[in-house]
């Protein structure tokens, strides 16, 4: 199988007042379609920076990222935005739901952006994440687990080629964390989406096809 996402020689550093922090040092990797990859590493090792760059949300100092032979690292913000509408999605530790929209509206929002909105798609995803009964609730009325399920549904409704999740269970208790991870994996397999999860949890990593460990900005 050819790779869906390819990163070549990524480097990134931050210049602080009197020192430079090299966060990523010459990282190359590739991810195949529908593959489940876990990224592990100590806090501050550069995991978040890495997946942000892979997802086109952040820029590199050096190196390229390709998605299906399209070079993300040379696109404009708006061109990247259009790619995010259909091909790349994100799930965060802290949900980032739009507080003025209901659960159903949050989930349907990306479809509106890409102009392919339909109620059926929203309802079917609502069912899959078991939130049909909360479709008209607002984010502040939901529990943490429910919020994350909404976020996952929102990320997957466009059937993206790849989904990035940065510590998606970091804000949840153990029981919720497990069911969220299970949901992610189930849906990933159903939608044939590539999944890249940053996690500290070994049990999650064991479920992955492959684990990438980052130590001090390098792949171990």
């Amino acid at each position: 199988m050819t790779s869906l996402l390819k990163a070549n020689n990524l480097s990134k550093s931050y210049a602080l007042e009197n020192q430079t922090i090299n966060v990523l040092k010459d990282i190359s990797l590739s991810i195949k379609a529908a593959e489940f990859v876990a990224i592990m590493g100590k806090s501050g090792s550069g995991k978040s920076t890495l997946i942000s760059i892979l997802a086109g949300l952040d820029t590199t100092d050096f190196g390229q990222v390709f998605l299906d032979d399209k070079e993300l690292t040379c696109l404009t913000e708006d061109e990247l935005a259009v790619i995010r509408q259909t091909d790349i999605s994100f799930v965060f530790q802290s949900f980032h739901l739009i507080p003025t929209l209901t659960v159903a509206e949050n989930i349907g929002f990306p479809l509106k952006l890409s102009g392919s909105f339909s109620d059926e798609k929203v309802n079917s995803l609502l069912q899959k994440v078991e939130l049909s009964h909360r479709k008209n609730s607002f984010p502040h009325q939901l529990s943490g687990g429910e919020k994350q399920r909404t976020a996952i549904a929102r990320a997957l409704i466009t059937q993206p080629k790849i989904l990035f999740a940065d510590e998606p269970t970091g804000n949840l208790d153990e029981k919720n964390a497990q069911s969220i991870m299970q949901l992610l994996i189930d849906l990933q397999q159903e939608f044939k989406t590539a999944l890249v999860v940053v996690t500290h949890d070994d049990s999650i990593a064991q479920l992955a096809d492959r684990t990438i460990r980052i130590i001090n900005g390098k792949i171990a």
Partner: protein, 798 residues
């Protein structure tokens, strides 16, 4: 604050000026005034007093003229003891002021092309100009005068041949006494006065405000500034809120590290209060600059010899007001902090909603503060309560209006009436938590309203009183024309003038109720006890129309015993009378009872003459009367004609309508300039609020903008969204404000100024365009900010 301090300083200075110069402004310890010669009993008693302690002061208008020039002047003929208090300051101030010479205001010299030592004629007498008047002790303000000042010796008066023919002379006696003698003399003189038209007052009883207009104007400006201060209070609130919102994380950390919330609040309080203190110091400097360099701007309303300082009291007042205000605003805003749990902020899964209740007590406190401030300016509990309640009602109206508007939008959203999802989303964003759309709309609307009302009123007054001197209206008015002078006058001017007979009379009673009793019941439109000009005619003036009449289309109807009378509608309103009601007049001793047979309306306001009371010719034709005449004379001829008339008929006073309108306009322009300065201030405060309320809600707005970007919204759409949201917020606010402003100024201009409201469409259009431009600019700036920031950095920092 600077504006407030400046005005307070001005007012203090004026108050001090009046305190110090009380007697000087009044002219004496006891003052007697009348509009006819004083009765003999009184005169003989006054003549027994020391001549150095009494001033006789006669004032009237007359035309001063030279060979080929003339000017309307206000003559003041005084006896030698003038002035009893204060000093008449002259330009040269040298030699003794002789008989047959006059002192004149600068305007007389410049208008008539004269210098000191030249001669001019007043009435039938020629005078040498002795000196130029710099300031008169009893006339602190010169801007309000009607006619340029000429002071002559009382002993020269007879030779002018003017007094006696004149119907409008103000007679005045000023007496200087020692403190012990004042009351007995006052009582004695009062006892001698039988005629109720004669007024006798002590200096203390006299109205010493340098002029009601300037006093009222200062208070008006201060109220305007208080409005600005109240607006800034809201501004401060949004600034503090924005500041605190930005620092929420820091605060949460500080609090999590064990710092007490009250300590955090305390640190803010110290910070903001010191900032307020510094602002007052800056304000003090600013107002010092205004007072030193900007004195010219206030010349219209201040005595020219006033000493302007910023009294310590004003300064302390400003400090106290601003500290209290800032303190209150901070308190109201910071109450929220005390209830924030650090967990809620640090863990973003819960939106940090402060659970604090609305601090009603503190809001009430600020309301009372503003009430006290208004009260301290106008010193009338009733009026300040009225103003305050009016403000409150207005605020409630706004709040209600805003709520209704929001409900409507919500309803439209719920019913899916809007199909464009971007518009829907933008409108939904208006309901975003923490963004205080209602407060935003109310404050912007309030600001718009204050500014709008000022603009609208200004425009209406401008349009109807000053700018539009109608083309066909007469511009030359002749007062005190004797009946037998008509023909000669027509020949002199080479045109047939329009003459109006004038009979002077007083109102005795209305529907049997005596005027003295009525006076307390009627409004302030006019003084029912004054002398009125009656006229007679058998047809309507071309500038009037019949409103109602007993006999259709007729001014008069058969009324049996009573005399028919046609009344002007505005005066009928003032008298609260209608057709068939009766008015009894005292026409130079003869009592005439008249029945109202018609009510007339003027077609439009303007300089054309009008009479409240018109009788049928036969009723008044035999009464002692004079003529009032109007003519239309080209600009180039007016001065020459005025000179001609002054030479031939010294008793006739001519009024040059064109130049009066011009002078009036200059004066109003000066006042307008001041209002505009303070209006600009409130615009500034409005903008400040506009921007800070956007900032204080920007945390939430920004967060969502980044969410949209994260999900793939392109910047064009984001811009649309922002623009729709800002435009609808801003235009709602502007619209509501403009609407209320229109209503308010319609009410004010109809009730107070008796004017129709003229909506300045150009101003409305220009200001809406400016608002729209502003909103677009803000949207562009905002959008660029979002575009340039990295989505991930924002999301990661959350």
């Amino acid at each position: 604050m600077g504006a407030y301090l400046t005005l307070d300083a001005l007012q203090q200075s004026v108050d001090d000026y009046i305190d110090i110069n009380q007697k000087q402004i009044v002219g004496g310890d006891i003052v007697i005034t009348h509009n006819q010669a004083f009765p003999d009993e009184l005169m003989s008693r006054v003549q027994q007093l020391d001549t150095n302690q009494v001033v006789y002061d006669f004032q009237f208008n007359s035309i001063a003229y030279t060979q080929d020039n003339s000017l309307l002047t206000r003559i003041k003929a005084v006896s030698s003891a003038y002035p009893l208090y204060g000093e008449l300051i002259l330009k040269n101030n040298g030699s003794l002021w002789q008989q047959s010479s006059v002192l004149v205001e600068q305007q007389v010299l410049s208008s008539l092309n004269l210098t000191i030592g030249d001669t001019l004629k007043i009435g039938e007498k020629e005078f040498t100009i002795h000196d130029e008047i710099i300031t008169e002790p009893d006339r602190p303000l010169t801007a309000f005068g009607f006619g340029a000042r000429v002071i002559m010796h009382k002993s020269d008066l007879a030779a002018t041949g003017l007094v006696g023919k004149k119907s409008r002379v103000n007679y005045r006696i000023e007496i200087k006494t020692s403190t012990e003698e004042q009351q007995p003399l006052f009582d004695e003189l009062s006892a001698l006065i039988t005629h109720k038209e004669i007024q006798i007052k002590t200096a203390e009883q006299s109205n010493t405000s340098i002029s009601n207009l300037s006093q009222n104007f200062l208070v008006f400006l201060k109220l305007l500034v208080i409005a600005v201060i109240a607006l800034s209070a809201i501004g401060i609130m949004s600034i503090v809120r924005a500041f605190v919102a930005k620092q929420q994380n820091t605060n949460a950390v500080r609090s999590a590290l064990g710092e007490k919330n009250s300590d955090i609040v305390q640190s803010y309080r110290v910070l903001f209060l010191s900032m307020a203190f510094i602002s007052v110091i800056l304000a003090w400097l600013a107002s010092l600059l205004v007072i030193v360099f900007g004195k010219e701007a206030f010349l219209a309303i201040l005595p020219s010899d006033i000493v302007l300082t910023i009294p310590l009291l004003s300064f302390l007042k400003a400090i106290i007001i601003s500290l209290i205000m800032t303190g209150l605003m901070i308190h109201i805003t910071l109450i929220g902090i005390k209830h924030i749990k650090p967990v809620a902020v640090l863990h973003k899964h819960q939106n940090p909603q402060s659970k604090a209740k609305t601090p009603w007590i503190w809001l009430l406190g600020s309301a009372i503060g503003i009430l006290l401030l208004v009260y301290s300016e106008i010193n009338s509990i009733k009026l300040s309560l009225q103003i305050f309640i009016a403000l409150l009602v207005m605020w409630l109206c706004f709040a209600l209006f805003t709520k209704v508007l929001m409900w409507t939008i919500k309803w439209m959203l719920d019913k899916n009436i809007i199909h464009n999802w971007k518009t829907t989303l933008a409108l939904q964003n208006i309901f975003r938590k923490n963004n205080q759309s209602a407060l935003f709309i109310s404050t912007i609307a309030m600001t718009t309203m204050v500014l709008g009302t000022i603009t609208l009123l200004d425009n209406s007054i401008q349009q109807q009183l000053i700018s539009t001197y109608p083309e066909d209206a007469p511009n030359f008015f002749l007062l005190d024309v004797q009946t037998n002078q008509q023909q000669e006058l027509d020949e002199l001017l080479g045109q047939k003038l329009t003459y109006y007979p004038v009979v002077r009379a007083r109102i005795k009673s209305v529907n049997g109720i005596e005027t003295a009793e009525l006076k307390t019941k009627l409004g302030r439109y006019d003084n029912i006890e004054r002398m009125y000009n009656l006229s007679y005619a058998n047809a309507l003036l071309p500038t009037e129309e019949l409103d109602t009449s007993l006999e259709s289309g007729q001014l008069f109807a058969d009324t049996g015993d009573e005399v028919p009378l046609s009344l002007l509608s505005s005066f009928a309103e003032f008298l609260q009378v209608d057709l068939d009601d009766t008015v009894t007049f005292n026409i130079q001793g003869i009592s005439i009872k008249a029945k109202i047979t018609s009510i007339r309306k003027r077609l439009k306001r303007g300089p054309s003459p009008f009479f409240y009371f018109i009788f049928p010719s036969e009723v008044l034709a035999e009464a002692p009367q004079i003529r009032f005449a109007t003519a239309k004379v080209s600009d180039s001829q007016r001065v020459a004609m005025q000179t001609q008339i002054a030479k031939t008929f010294p008793g006739i006073t001519t009024l040059d309508g064109g130049s009066i309108a011009k002078k009036l306009k200059e004066f109003v322009d000066q006042l307008k300039q001041l209002v505009q300065i303070f209006t600009a201030l409130s615009i500034f405060a409005g903008l400040l609020i506009f921007i800070t309320s956007l900032i204080s809600t920007s945390q939430d707005r920004l967060r969502e903008s980044f969410y949209y970007r994260m999900m793939g919204m392109v910047s064009k759409d984001l811009f649309k969204l922002t623009l729709i949201e800002f435009l609808s917020l801003g235009l709602f606010a502007f619209g509501v404000g403009a609407l209320v402003a229109t209503l308010l100024s319609a009410i004010i201009s109809n009730n107070w100024f008796n004017l129709d409201l003229v909506i300045p469409w150009s101003v409305v259009i220009v200001s809406s365009l400016i608002i729209i431009m502003l909103l677009i600019v803000i949207s562009v700036i905002y959008n660029n900010h979002v575009k340039r920031s990295k989505v991930i950095e924002f999301l990661a920092s959350e």
